[in-house]
Every structure is written in structure tokens, then in C-alpha cells.
Assembly symmetry: C2
Homo-oligomer: 381 residues x 2
């Protein structure tokens, strides 16, 4: 199989756009990604669209109505919070397979509209109050508390994740927020589900991100290899059956399986990764994923945040974009926004927040239900 | 790229199952398709799930919860009435590409539940009454009337499509209905939107269908080539921009483009096709698609139904399963149910309704919005 490259990639500044439609929001990032590589929609051979909340509504085709209908195949995918990563992966697979030479992947979400309504507990989950057992905040609070019980991880260590990611976002003009949140502010914010305060929960925003993916041959023909980013690994996993409390989904297993497969596919190890955009839907989740992704050994995540190893300038900067905690988390867009962030560093175009000398980066998303998507990207030679 | 084969395929008898969940209905056909080739869910390397009305709800993963969670990638797709065909196509692409050796595709729908509610006009379409302008019945009635104006096609000719398909379904134990509908019964049924009476509209049912797709190497290793069906062409298209009434989507263009591409990909012509399962969502639609698929010249569709060329025993039998008009149309399942029907004839296992000597068959679906999916299948050598 041929290699596949990200040749154009971009995202809109995340925010709240109740006056726009989902296709309009999606079209904006599609046009930005096309502009990024100097191409037009007529150059694309297929569109893979990821959207969660309006997944029944032909969002991909409606994006083409906004920017140009050319008769190309459109595939609409949804996969909870892994929706954008899944759309990117299907696009990657189609190019890797040689079905197409160049395709577009778009992820888009408008929160507070559509099926899920953006915030309330999903149907079928016991409704024991918005933040009670079985809801997202409870699931990740309980997972964090289990880590605390096993390894002595402290409230302060969890809170430091949010301080770090908010600090990172002050250097990212596309993040929803660009404000510092000192440790005492984070720890004293409204308690949502211990140990996560309101500033330790991901931000509910609208957004979209898009990527143009091409074969090596096509990228060379178009003169786009200079800023191209190679996809070294693309992995998707789902939960295995296991003995467990049915109300408490496992948030660790499928990430561990996906990261092991991704390292194997890319032929690299955690020590080779220069930056990571991981799924910090809650501050507790980021701590768990340091270990799930093999960035440190089990029980060492608290030390890792204390030592600044995951901050910009540290050994393996994590969520330099500001992450879901400050950049924001428009569900179906997040997976491709991660690809944008890592690609921007590999291209050396991240400005003030640039991870110096970044050569290989990783993106990670996890959707409960479940789907875990991991990509490893490398600067084209 | 390697060839890809359908090695297992089946569907449930379509019906109405309000007491079941969507994942339960989907799991039933998945197990039937696995049984068809003597494999288990642990043998599958990925799952591609098509569902329209609950597209946000991780239907694929929930099917695995019913039959066995093995950690495999799950991709949930939706594409209006082309949803099942799109899921099958993504599964085919993954095998064709060499990403996986063997995968499962499932299409499932439970009507009257979920986002669209099953029947009412979709959001964003002018609500001029359930059967008024802009609704599905009106779109296909108007397209039929345009054909009548141009070519003199008669009410009786449109009605004969329904007589034929209902007759076919009397030989299909998996169809929703197995009843003859004589011409006067069809013509005197409640008028929905002229010229389509109630018996000329597709049947709103629950259903699911599933297929196991494998590389040639894997099919041989497993000893499954004897009943295997080769996928000779898989094509997906969407609408091109054109000058047209925005309320009246084009129901012809993307089918013509898809069929031309499918014939080219398969290296065959309409004269090589031994049977067709096409998208008879309304009787008028079937008439249009004889021409759109190149089964006859423009303006000859009326003659084709009069002469019995498209009936069982005719030159190119169409919708021998009973079609959407009598077998039923569970949106996300229909594309894979078509694959089941054609494969069953190519295997010589269609019993009373067998198309004698069938060697090559075509399936066609079209979803407004738009997506057209066409597959050409051939008996493995």
C-alpha cells in the first residue's frame, strides 16, 4: 500500500455560533483546509464527513451544497467523541488503499442542537441527576478516584492538568479561551464531580476542522511535499467484553490496545513522540491517558504533571493547543482538530507555542460506547 | 488491489418489531450472515454498521454488545436510503485495500423510532402536508409525471411495476408481504400522490441484513470460495450542482453517473446483467431507473414493463425479491438486503424465484440528499 499524507489541514477558531448551520460551520474549515494547500473542491475525489449530533442528516452532502457539488462520493460517519478521528481514518484508508488519490475529511459539531441536545445524559443511561452516576462527569471522576486510591494521585495533581492546558491555550488564537487559570482558581471553581471542578471539564463549543489527504505520488505531482505530514499509524479500537460494572464504562482498556497497535504500526515507541494531543475531556482523563499511552509507567502520571514533563518545554508536551479543557470540544470536530495541531507543529508553524524540533506526534480520542482512535504523524522527509 | 468476495450474507424476514431494540434487530442478521459461512464474531477484523435514524447512537458497538465484544474497529455510517450500501462499500474498501482480510457489514433500521420518526417530512423541507410538494411521495410523483409528459408513460404502466413486484414477493419468504395485487387493485387503491397509489409506495418496515466480506486469499483459506460472490464494482456518487428547482431534488443524474462508472469498473454492460435489485421506493421510480441504469433506452421503460422483460422469466428480471414495494424498505438495511438477494441468485439458492443461470447481478439504491450506490456482483469462478 502507498503512503498517505496530510497535505492541507486547518480548523476554525472554536466558539459558539447559534446563528449558523452545521453545514455552514463545516464548510468554513473545509475551505480553510483547501486554501492551506491551494486546491479547490473540484480537486477532491471523495468526502468523508464526521458529525455526531446530526448524524442522520446528510451533513457531508450539505457541506458540498455550501462549497460546490461535484458528484463525488460522500460518506457520513459517527462514532461518539471519536467521530472526527473515524472520518479522518476512513479518508486515510481510501487513499492508502489506492481507491482515491486525494480526498477531503471534515469534522464538525454544533453543540446544543441536534439529537443529544449537547449536555444532558444520553438516552438509556440512568438519570440520577445531571452529574450523577452513569453520566460523563461521574464516569471520569470515578476513574480518577480509582487512580487516586491505587497510586495516591492528589486533587492538586489533577488540577495542575487544567492549569497547564489553559496556559497553553493563551498561545493558541484558535482556542475558545485564552486565559490563565492559576491553581487556586481551578481548585476553588464550582465542584462538578469530585475531583473535577468546572475548570477541569471540557468546554462545550461549536467548531470544525478539515484535512486534505493524498497519496505520495499525488502530493509530489502537486508540489505539496514541502509541508506534507505523513500518517505513520491509524488505529481504531472498541471495548472488549469484560467483567465490570455496566454503568461504569472502561475508559482505559481500548486506549491501551489502540496505543500498542499504533506504536507497532508506526515502528516507534513512546520515547519517539515529540508531542501528544490526547482526549482531556476531564482533567482526570488526561492523567489516566499518560499511562494508557505509555508516556510513563503505571502510577507515574502524578509525578509527570508535577515535574512539568508534559508542559510546553518539557520532555513530551501534551495538549499544547489548550486541549479539550480550554481549546474546546466540539465532539465530531475534535479528532481532526488534533490532527491540525500536531501537523502545525511538525510543519514548524505553531508560532509562540511551537514544540521545538517536533518530528513525530500523536493524536488520541476516545468516545464512550466505545471507540478509541489514535494517529501517529511524522514530518515528511 | 486484491479482489473482495461476499462469503456470508443473510437478512431477517422484514416486519414490525416494536418490542425489540435496533441493536437486537441488527444482531439477528449479523448472526445469520456469520452462520451462513460458519464463522463467529471472533473471526471478524472490523465492523461497518449502517443505520439512519439512530445514527448518533453507536449502533455498531451496541450490536457487538449483543453478540460479542472483541475490541475490533467499529465504523458507523449513515447516508439516507443509501446507508446500507455505504456501509457495505466501506467494508468492501477496507478489504480491497488490504487493511483487513475479513470484515462484517450490517445494515439495520427500526422505523417509527429515532430521529426521523419514520414517515413525516424531514426537517427543513417545506411542510405543505404529508404528501405535498417537497415530500418524498411528491418528489417521485412529479418525476413520474415528467416521464409521462415526455414519453407518454401511462398510469397503468406505472401500476404494473407494483403488480410485478408483489407477485415476485409471493415467492420470497423473507418479504414483508406475500400477496398478489392485481392491476385493478393497485390502480384503485388510495391515491397518495398521482400517479402513485398506496400500493405503489414502499412499505415501512423494520429489518436488517448483513454480509461477511473477505479477500480471495482468506476466502480460499477458509474453504469458502464455493458459495462466494465477487464484488466486481462498487460505486457511490452524489448530486452535481445544476440549475433546478431546489424543492425538487434530481432523482436521475446521480444514478446515471453511478451506473456508467459501475459498468466501467466491472468491465461489463447492461446486456451482461442477469438480474437487478433497484430502488423502487415508488412505482414511478422503478420506471425511471430502467433508463437510468441503461437497461433500456430513454423513453422505452413503459414498453419494458408491458413486454414483461423485467419480470421473472424475462430478459432482465428486476426486483425479484419483491422490492421495496412488497419486501419492504427498512432504510439502513435495504442496501445490504439487495446484496443478499442478488448473491442468493448467483449462488443458485433462490428456490421458486430463482433467476435461471444468473451469473452477474446489480444492486442500486438512491438516497435523496443525495447518495447513489451501485454494486455489480458475479458468481465466483
Amino acid at each position: 500500500m502507498t503512503d498517505a499524507y496530510v497535505v492541507g489541514v486547518d480548523m476554525i477558531k472554536f466558539g459558539r455560533f447559534p446563528e449558523k448551520t452545521v453545514p455552514q460551520i463545516g464548510a468554513e474549515s473545509a475551505l480553510l483546509a483547501l486554501d492551506d494547500c491551494g486546491l479547490g473542491i473540484q480537486d477532491m475525489e471523495a468526502l468523508y464527513c464526521g458529525n455526531l449530533m446530526q448524524a442522520s442528516a446528510m451533513v457531508g452532502q450539505r457541506i458540498l451544497q455550501e462549497i460546490g457539488q461535484t458528484g463525488i462520493p460522500v460518506v457520513n460517519v459517527s462514532n461518539a467523541c471519536a467521530t472526527g478521528a473515524t472520518a479522518f481514518r476512513e479518508a486515510w484508508a481510501s487513499v492508502k488503499a489506492g481507491l482515491y488519490d486525494i480526498v477531503l475529511a471534515v469534522g464538525v459539531e454544533q453543540m446544543g442542537k441536534g439529537l443529544l441536545g449537547g449536555g444532558g445524559p444520553a438516552k438509556g443511561i440512568p438519570k440520577e441527576g445531571l452529574f450523577g452516576s452513569g453520566t460523563m462527569p461521574a464516569v471520569f471522576a470515578e476513574a480518577g478516584m480509582e487512580h487516586a486510591r491505587k497510586y495516591g494521585t492528589t486533587f492538586e495533581q489533577f488540577a495542575k492538568v487544567s492549569v497547564k492546558n489553559h496556559h497553553h491555550s493563551t498561545m493558541n488564537p484558535k482556542a475558545m479561551y485564552q486565559i490563565e487559570t492559576p491553581l487556586d482558581t481551578v481548585m476553588n471553581a464550582e465542584m462538578i464531580s469530585y475531583p473535577n471542578t468546572k475548570l477541569m471539564c471540557s468546554v462545550n463549543v461549536d467548531g470544525s476542522a478539515a484535512a486534505v489527504i493524498a497519496t505520495e505520488k499525488k502530493a509530489r505531482e502537486l508540489g505539496l511535499m514541502g509541508r506534507a505530514v505523513k500518517v505513520r499509524a491509524s488505529v481504531l479500537t472498541s471495548d472488549r467484553w469484560q467483567e465490570r460494572d455496566l454503568v461504569m464504562p472502561d475508559v482505559n482498556t481500548c486506549t491501551r490496545e489502540a496505543s500498542a497497535k499504533a506504536y507497532e504500526m508506526a515502528g516507534v515507541g513512546p520515547e519517539d513522540i515529540d508531542l501528544v494531543e490526547l482526549h482531556d475531556c476531564f482533567a482526570t482523563a488526561e492523567i489516566l491517558h499518560y499511562e494508557n499511552l505509555g508516556l510513563c509507567g503505571d502510577g507515574e502520571a502524578g509525578r509527570m504533571i508535577d515535574d512539568g514533563e508534559v508542559a510546553l518545554g518539557g520532555r513530551t508536551p501534551v495538549n499544547v493547543s489548550g486541549g479539550l479543557l480550554s481549546k474546546g470540544h466540539p465532539l465530531g470536530a475534535t479528532g481532526i482538530a488534533n490532527i491540525y495541531e500536531v501537523s502545525t507543529h511538525l510543519r514548524g508553524e505553531a508560532g509562540e507555542r511551537q514544540v521545538q524540533g517536533a518530528r513525530i506526534g500523536m493524536t488520541h480520542v476516545i468516545g464512550l460506547g466505545s471507540a478509541c482512535g489514535i494517529h501517529i504523524l511524522e514530518k515528511a522527509a
